[in-house]
């Protein structure tokens, strides 16, 4: 198969979530025409992108793709951090992906390139895991539940699609855990006294929001296919991460029967899904050498740098956005103010960069 020309008409699903919006912003300058779809309105206007109200859970993607002659689909409508909404996450991840794949399949489909967002959560976390998980270690003999099962099912659908449609190159990106604002991990690490599972200090590997978006953009622009782990270099221990954030670790959650600990955390305002409780007990670190080898690129932030930038409150992608239009800046400013009023603590969005 000869290498196809670069993408010309790109559709991003799930463009209203922060990562999808960031990907759209980066892709807007690099492709001739860009379309985005989601159920919710985008939080901010992006020039050069046509927004379509379309639900991936309905079978509209096929029509959309054919009518707009889309050659590249970036499937970002995958929920990897859903607190307490298992049913909705299952609908979005499995049924949504199934519809998107069905829309892209068939001889009349113009799609030549598909990027699917997945998560490191697909590996789960267990004491017997290798210290560095490679791409082929997913789907172990342990019973899968919750998000892990959904992601496994979703990836299996993507694999089957890749086998069936030889004209379309599929790449699946297993993004590392992110700690940007609004994520469960962020809420957890920002607690003044952070309850941890007693007797465990797992190794954490994280991924910066910028690197996540950059990886998706590169996957969309370059003709690679396969499954790739995307996560930052190096590790931090959970206790280190908490200390960097200025909190104090308190090993008070029972190590066995983790649902008790999860209940306690819900009382503290953090709704922790079970896969995250496993992650914060045993830790999980992936081997990203395949990404570095194939893409010739690796995340710019190390795990330590991700934590440092978060602690400094400089984890803001909006300031560095390429020449944001005025309206956009205004919206971001208002959003930050709203958040500030809600949380009562500075996000650092408007702090002068040092």
């Amino acid at each position: 198969m000869s290498s196809p020309p670069g993408p010309r008409r790109v559709l991003i699903t799930g463009v209203s979530n922060p990562l999808g919006a960031d990907v759209a912003r980066r892709l807007a300058t690099q492709v001739p025409s860009l379309f985005g779809c989601d159920v919710a309105d985008p939080v901010s206007a992006i020039e050069d992108m046509d927004f379509v109200h379309a639900d991936t859970r309905q079978s509209v993607i096929g029509k959309l793709v054919r009518r707009l002659r889309i050659d590249t689909v970036v499937h970002m409508a995958v929920t990897v951090d859903s607190a307490g909404e298992h049913r909705a996450a299952h609908e979005t991840n499995v049924i949504g992906t199934m519809n998107v794949l069905a829309g892209c399949a068939g001889p009349s489909s113009p799609v030549r390139r598909l990027v699917v967002k997945s998560s490191q959560a697909v590996y789960g976390a267990a004491p017997g895991d290798a210290s560095f998980i490679t791409e082929d270690m997913a789907g172990s003999d342990r019973p899968a539940y919750g998000l892990k099962r959904d992601l496994l099912e979703m990836e299996q659908l993507a694999q089957e699609f890749a086998l069936r449609s030889s004209a379309c190159r599929v790449s699946v990106l297993r993004l590392g855990y992110r700690v940007s604002e609004g994520t469960t991990l962020n809420r957890y690490l920002s607690l003044p006294i952070v309850p941890t599972f007693a007797g465990f200090d797992p190794r954490l590997q994280l991924l910066h929001e910028d690197d996540a978006a950059e990886a998706v953009v590169r996957a969309a622009l370059q003709p690679h296919e396969g499954v790739f782990n995307v996560a930052a270099d190096g590790i931090v221990l959970l206790s280190q991460a908490i200390a960097i954030m200025g909190g104090k670790p308190a090993p008070i959650l029972p190590p066995y029967g983790r649902w008790i600990g999860r209940l306690a955390l819900r009382g503290a305002g953090v709704d922790m899904p079970s896969h995250l409780a496993d992650f914060l007990t045993f830790g999980s670190v992936t081997d990203c050498s395949r990404l570095a080898r194939t893409f010739g690129w690796k995340p710019g932030y190390s795990t330590r740098a991700v934590m440092d930038s978060l602690a400094r409150g400089r984890d803001v992608e909006v300031i560095e956005a390429p020449s944001p239009p005025q309206e956009y800046e205004l919206q971001v400013y208002l959003q930050r103010r709203r958040r500030l009023q809600q949380n009562g603590r500075p996000s650092g969005a408007l702090a002068a960069p040092r």
Binding site: F200, R203, I235, A243
Partner: protein, 350 residues
């Protein structure tokens, strides 16, 4: 854009940063400030205590004619306390390697393990010259004694006796990695989970890797079967060594069998807790936590000459015949070494 919220954010941000600094090094509160002479005395008290103790030690040596207080040991203990205090001041700014190994912290703990090594189990180590000073190697040892103290002692032996002290990275059953406290401690001191991929990675980083092919079958064997080696798995360690081109160094350990003589196994209890065995020893669980104190048996550790797997091509790793031959050779070397060292030992506790 208005300037006012930006500055207020700035000051808040600064305040947060200063609070973070306070966590790292708490300034003394003014309430606890003592008068100057007392503060000076407090600062110098440890020095006076050591001076007094060394004077007493000299006097006692003159009176009794033998070493009653060993000042070297005292200084080691003092150093240990100060090291721990210094480590506690590091805050989050310390590096662990990607396996979670904190070398500085581990080295500070070695004082404790050396005390166990020299004074408690009086370990005699032979053949330390068979351990290479640089480069990769796979140490293979017999496993016994309910809790993996034998791994600790092999690590201490190489760090204390080898002319070129090295850290040994042992592979641990996933069962221990799932236990509270133990998993944290094992990771922090350089152990990793017994996964073939981990072994390969460590060997490729030219580390000394310690593996117990008997696994929990070795630690959980009854006292009457002591010093009889169990099956060496399916020889997975040999395949990994051949692929990595690492020599295998057999290690025989004598003495570990007697630290917790396992006279029974409460299988229903083990099943309830999801453990492979629940040991019953003369002291555990009857005396509670006191039952965890190991008995002071006399130990011997022997490092045997290396079995060179580098001579085999990497394809031999998939040849089960070659693998099992080498595995049996290593097992026989260790078993013979165990019997030899048992003969050299005069009694269990002497």
């Amino acid at each position: 854009m208005t300037v006012e919220p930006a500055t207020s954010l700035d000051s808040k941000d600064l305040r947060r940063r200063s609070r973070k600094a306070k966590v790292v090094a708490p300034p003394p509160s003014p309430r606890l400030r003592l008068p100057r002479p007392i503060r000076r005395l407090r600062r110098q008290a440890p020095m006076y205590a050591i001076q007094g103790l060394s004077g007493l030690s000299t006097r006692l040596r003159q009176v009794t004619g033998r070493e009653v207080i060993d000042m070297n040991r005292v200084m080691e203990a003092v150093q240990f306390v100060y090291q721990q205090r210094e480590l506690a001041m590091r805050g989050p700014d310390y590096a662990v390697d990607e396996f979670g190994f904190d070398a500085q912290w581990t080295e500070s703990l070695l004082t404790l393990f050396k005390a166990l090594y020299r004074d408690y189990w009086r370990v005699e180590t032979t053949g330390i010259e068979n351990v290479p000073a640089t480069g990769r190697a796979l140490l293979v040892a017999n496993h016994a004694g309910v809790l993996p103290w034998d791994g600790t002692m092999i690590k201490t032996a190489i760090f204390a006796e080898h002319p070129h002290p090295r850290h040994v990275r042992a592979l641990v059953a996933s069962l221990f990695m799932g236990m509270p406290v133990l998993s944290w401690f094992l990771r922090r001191t350089g152990q990793t989970v017994g996964h073939p991929d981990d072994t390969r990675r460590l060997l490729e980083r030219d580390e000394l890797v310690l593996v117990f092919p008997e696994g929990v079958k070795g630690t959980g064997k009854p006292f009457k079967d002591r010093y009889r080696l169990r099956r060496f798995g399916r020889g997975g360690f040999v395949s990994t060594a051949i692929r990595a081109g690492a020599p295998i160094i057999p290690v025989s350990v004598v003495g570990s069998e007697e630290i917790y003589p396992m006279i029974g196994d409460a299988l229903p209890v083990a099943k309830f807790f999801g453990l492979p065995y629940f040991p019953l020893t003369p002291t555990w669980p009857w005396l509670g936590a006191l039952g965890l104190i190991p008995l002071p048996s006399k130990w011997r550790i022997q490092f045997h000459p290396a079995v060179h797997t580098e001579t085999h091509p990497p394809e031999a790793a998939d040849d089960q015949n070659v693998v099992m031959t080498i595995s049996d050779e290593v097992r026989n070397t260790i078993q013979a070494g165990v019997y030899e060292n048992l003969k050299l030992r005069r009694g269990v506790f002497t």
